[in-house]
Symmetry: C2
Subunit: 410 residues, 2 copies
């Protein structure tokens, strides 16, 4: 099927400089997609630190199981990604496929097998023809280039309508540090599976245990604060690589003040990529930001936010430009979290629609309807209890979603 | 908007005899719907026992709050329902509306205010013009009839495409007992809220505490085992009334052997009504039954079943006739419940697609595709752990859902 570029896509792929110690190349396996790259090889400076956050599914893909194991060592020298086949639910053959690809990468780049990280995205349950992939690796190893981001971001897409990248510069001990990431998600072709993959690279010198803390504590408000359709993938993978090429003295802990600027920049890259994924949600026409305040805790606020963001009734109302704030109240109610019905307030854009548990006197829908005509929708809900707050992002639910997932078969 | 009758609707409204001690009448308030009844008054024999199950939302409608309070006494003499306005999130005025309507019913039927049960379904957040409703009550009290089920079931609908009724006969101490119920859900007009209402009547003589036990323990596998779009309502109300007119000696407990046949018949009525609600899910073209076996517990099986039933990716795949079993595996994985990936098996219809954690050798998709052309789809998943099993029902997710909830505004 022909997918039009999302109306929420950025105008261009961002200009992103190379990260010292990171080079990449892409290739075409021809396994599923014709005439476009679907393989990515990234070479990393020896002694690169790595941290990762992987899907919590009870049915993880074979590359996820592999990464979980290899992350314990905290060191990486290569990353290999294929799109079109997720290598999930493929039995022992799927595990063989991962091992054989990792071995081939290891042989080409002359690095330990255990330093090769892997990710796959695409159809579930089909065997991965790893032999065909392996034949491409020697050539890919010869073509490695620094700053090859647009091609790298494109090679990991499935039916994303645009490649996703984000980059920031941070200072560590007055030294300029590059943080650059790519991501894919969550367009798909039936019978494929939406998956979120993101790889972030920096030349900072940060040990893997500190890197892991930084990554983990910034995931909750970035990648874990987005939802397209509530369906968690079997392959979600987020990896952060630090080559150390910038040669600054290593920090002593994740709370070392020298990391303050770096962490802000990292969070910015993560949030930027996460929001690009929502902007490419299947059939997305609008980006919806949901701010929940007044909850009993941050965790409670987040759960309420996700209940609103995952409500098909809220998402279809936004798609229809319908100022249906009652559905937002419904979603608060079903979240399972505490709220004070007599104190709930709801704002769409800058307009307060309801407060103290009822619609405001003389409520005028016109400015709300106007706000809903835009591409970026803001919903703020105060649930009238405490100081817990959280923001989540989603997209609307449109005919496009049904078309992508029901009307077409690959 | 014009809603076509669901292709899953039964051919006709069932023939249902009257229940002794129960009479009803309907009327038109003209508040929202033109030219169709939207008010239902049911008179119940004095000393009727009542049991109920109400929405767990933290933002309950005013009639829900009223019923929760009145259920404590366990006695009912009237039920009043309006459709078109849910009387939710309407502040203190909403509570006044409930009280005033109950008072008017009480005056007309000469029964205590606290014996009047109430339910409302429709738009959220709009004030209910109860004065207009009250003017209709005296006339309604004069027109009460036994066995008026089709009209009663129609008066409580919002944009349901067919009225829903079910009836069974049971024996208690060799006496024939009638159990008859009506229900509504879950068509809707934007900006309305889908709500599930169901009222079941029997002439059995059962004290309210026993009635409550019977109702509560059969809800989990009937009304709580269905889902259309995962959005729980602010108004969900299920009430069971026992007039005692059959004059059999009262049972001593819910486990009294004399109730065995009655409980089976009650469960049958509840399941029948629940499945009719799914068959009238917005845009539904297919009824999907999901059987989960091999889970750690019944509760775990149910949670896995609902994760599959609520997955937009599974529901759109079924809508598209796509044998996308990988999405079912994905939903198992995201449920948060334990599963053994190496032992999972998946069947569509009578075809085993995957077992022992991978697709079966020589899998032939043809019979599965044929099964998916039908109106009733069966999915069975064994998660390879224990003896926990559960069945849930849902419908597919189609363009009709988007049309009903996004494209039209009232």
């Amino acid at each position: 099927m022909d997918l039009k570029k999302s109306p929420l896509a950025p105008k261009n792929f961002p200009r992103m400089p190379g990260v010292t110690g990171v080079s990449s190349s892409t290739s075409l396996s021809g396994l599923k997609y014709k005439g476009r790259p679907d393989l990515l090889l990234v070479k990393l400076k020896s002694n690169t630190s790595v941290a990762g956050v992987l899907t919590k599914t009870s049915v993880p893909g074979c590359p996820v199981i592999w990464c979980r194991d290899k992350l314990q060592k905290g060191k990486a020298q290569a990353l290999f990604v294929n799109s079109g086949n997720a290598n999930v639910f493929t039995g022992s053959e799927g595990q063989t496929a991962v091992k054989e690809i990792a071995k081939a990468v290891s042989a080409s780049l002359k690095c330990p097998v255990s330093s090769v990280f892997m990710a796959s995205t695409g159809v579930i349950g089909e065997k991965l023809n790893y032999k065909k992939i392996i034949t491409k690796i020697p050539k890919m190893s010869e073509n490695l280039k620094e700053g090859n981001w647009n091609k790298a971001a494109t090679a990991i897409t499935t039916t994303d309508t645009f490649p996703k990248g984000a980059s920031e510069v941070a200072l560590i001990r007055n030294k300029k540090i590059q943080i650059t990431g790519i991501a894919k998600g969550s367009g798909m072709i039936a019978p494929d599976m939406a998956t979120m993959l993101s790889f972030i690279f920096t030349d900072a010198n940060i040990p893997s245990n500190i890197l892991q803390t930084l990554l983990s504590r910034n995931v909750q408000n970035t990648f874990n604060a987005i939802t397209v359709d509530s369906d968690a993938s079997t392959s979600d993978t987020l990896l952060l690589f630090a080559t150390g090429a910038a040669k600054s003295k290593a920090p002593t802990s994740a709370d070392d003040p020298v990391l303050k600027d770096f962490e802000l920049a990292l969070q910015s890259v993560m949030l930027n990529l996460a929001k690009q994924i929502v902007c490419d949600g299947e059939g997305a026409q609008k980006l919806i930001q949901i701010n929940v305040t007044g909850a009993n805790s941050k965790k409670s606020a987040r759960k309420i936010g996700l209940a609103i963001a995952n409500s098909p009734l809220v998402k279809t109302a936004i798609a229809g430009g319908d100022a249906n704030w009652g559905r937002v109240v419904m979603a608060v109610g079903k979240s399972g979290e505490k709220a004070n019905p007599d104190k709930i307030s709801v704002c769409f854009g800058k307009t307060t629609i309801a407060e103290k548990g009822a619609v405001v006197e003389g409520y005028n829908e016109a400015p709300v309807t106007e706000h809903l005509q835009g591409r970026e929708i803001n919903i703020t809900v105060d649930v009238g209890l405490g100081n817990g707050k959280s923001t989540v992002w989603t997209c609307d639910l449109t005919h496009g979603y049904i078309e992508i997932n029901a009307d077409y078969r690959s």
